[in-house]
């Protein structure tokens, strides 16, 4: 990008387009660092190249549909709505339950945007897991697959092949905690049964288990509690399961707090450049700008937006618009959702700055899209988010645009349904 002035920049349209190749990235410094890759990009280990521009557009639309399902799931969790299916969890592991919870085509948790490679068991079995700050309990697909499992890259976790594996008994505190987090659990002679449903009928059901988690060769966590999923449905891609980085007691940060102090940091990747996930404090973080994390508000990471600027101009939106319903930061939601009043002001200001480019058809939840087929560069306003405590986050083109097709670029923001819900 070339500076025009402090708040307006120009970027090549080619730079907006989805990349075809994976390039090396510089990871975070520190001892305990994992590589993060975009599941949909060329850096993913199971990436399949799309054949045409139409394929890319379909993939983008599917991603946006899943993103909306993700938002619906978040709202159901925050509202403590009853999760479906309303069935006895033990029954979900019975053969006759095969047809009770059909996986819906096109439905998924929608959180499968980034993956990390970690190990479980002794000797270590390696898996690509979905990285998710909106999930708590980690789980993997386990053998035997009692009812149904989705296709993953590589074999499922084999408890019988691990000398350190054990089922969590029903009387254990972890079993009660799993029930608190998922709302579903049960008991069998083999131990505690967990069940996670994601509101769209994707689910993982199995035995709550403990085994050694290997984050890096030098960082192993004995007795890590996770779900050993014997029934797993939904579109979790080719991943082996979930790596939960949420706030509850069974999340990875909580379970590793003695070792890493409950601190983790990440650089989310772009499609073509890997990012990284690091555990533990680091002196380099002291120069970050911090905003308060609202406590007592599990299960998500809540913070407070105070305002938004577009092209260096603060939007005329009262900060109360943001505080009425609150804000979370989430690794699994792609498109930032804003109260309608704030979104409307953002859209209006952005469109004013982009007035010389022709608007194109909306792309599902994105209503501000531009036809850039006749342009080689595009001039755009920087967007800045202001958080409580004077923390400012300046967004660049890779944060501002979502590109559904090779000639179309959309403002990567969407409204929520109501300012006050």
């Amino acid at each position: 990008a070339r500076n025009i002035n402090q708040h307006i920049q120009t970027v090549s349209v080619d730079q907006l387009r989805p990349p075809r190749e994976c390039t090396a990235g510089k990871g975070l410094q520190g001892k305990t660092t994992l590589k993060l890759v975009d599941r949909h990009g060329p850096c993913a280990p199971f990436h399949q190249k799309t054949g045409s521009a139409d394929d890319g557009k379909r993939d983008s639309e599917e991603l946006l549909r899943q993103d909306q399902q993700r938002v619906d799931w978040i709202h159901s969790r925050t509202a403590s709505l009853p999760l479906s299916p309303k069935k006895n969890i033990e029954d979900l592991l019975l053969p006759e339950a095969t047809t009770q919870v059909p996986a819906q085509t096109g439905s998924s948790l929608g959180s499968g945007n980034f993956i990390v490679d970690v190990g479980l068991g002794t000797p270590k079995q390696a898996f690509n897991l979905v990285f998710d700050t909106g999930s708590d309990l980690s789980w993997v697909q386990c053998d035997p697959c009692l009812i149904s499992c989705y296709q993953q890259q590589g074999p499922r976790f084999s408890p019988s092949a691990s000398s350190t594996y054990r089922n969590v008994p029903c009387s254990a505190a972890e079993c009660a905690e799993a029930k608190l987090e998922s709302g579903l659990n049960g008991c069998s002679t083999s131990g505690c049964i967990y069940g996670i449903t994601y509101g769209d009928n994707s689910l993982s059901v199995g035995f709550l288990s403990q085994d050694t988690l290997t984050i890096t060769p030098n960082d192993v966590v004995p007795g890590f509690t996770f779900g050993c999923g014997h029934r797993n449905q939904g579109l979790f891609g080719m991943t082996g399961g979930m790596f939960g980085l949420g706030r509850s007691k069974l999340s990875v940060p909580s379970q590793t707090a003695n070792k890493f102090g409950g601190v983790f940091a990440y650089c989310l990747p772009t499609a073509s450049v890997p990012g990284s996930l690091a555990f533990g404090p680091d002196s380099s973080y002291s120069s970050a700008q911090f905003t308060p994390l609202l406590t007592g508000s599990q299960p998500f990471y809540y913070l407070t937006i105070t305002g938004i600027s577009v092209g260096g101009q603060l939007l005329p939106v009262s900060s109360s618009i943001f505080t009425t319903s609150g804000t979370i930061i989430d690794s699994g939601t792609v498109i930032t959702r804003l109260p309608p009043t704030a979104y409307s002001a953002l859209r209006s200001a952005f469109r004013t700055f982009m007035a010389k480019y022709p608007l194109s058809q909306p792309s599902l939840i994105l209503d501000t899209c531009y036809d850039l087929s006749n342009y080689t560069t595009v001039q755009y306003p920087l967007i800045e988010f202001h958080f409580q405590g004077g923390t400012n986050v300046l967004l660049d083109f890779y944060n501002i645009f979502f590109v559904p097709s090779s000639s179309q670029a959309c403002l990567a923001f969407a409204p929520t349904s109501s300012d006050s819900s």
Partner: protein, 31 residues
């Protein structure tokens, strides 16, 4: 509920410092 999504977090260091109840952002730390 507003959600600060992952498109807007790309290439920005995001620190979750739970014991100190704070979230940090640092630009330029993700090359």
């Amino acid at each position: 509920l507003s959600i600060f999504g992952n498109r807007q977090q790309r290439k920005i260091l995001v620190v979750h410092d739970v014991p100190n109840a704070r979230i940090g952002f640092k630009q330029g730390a993700c090359s």
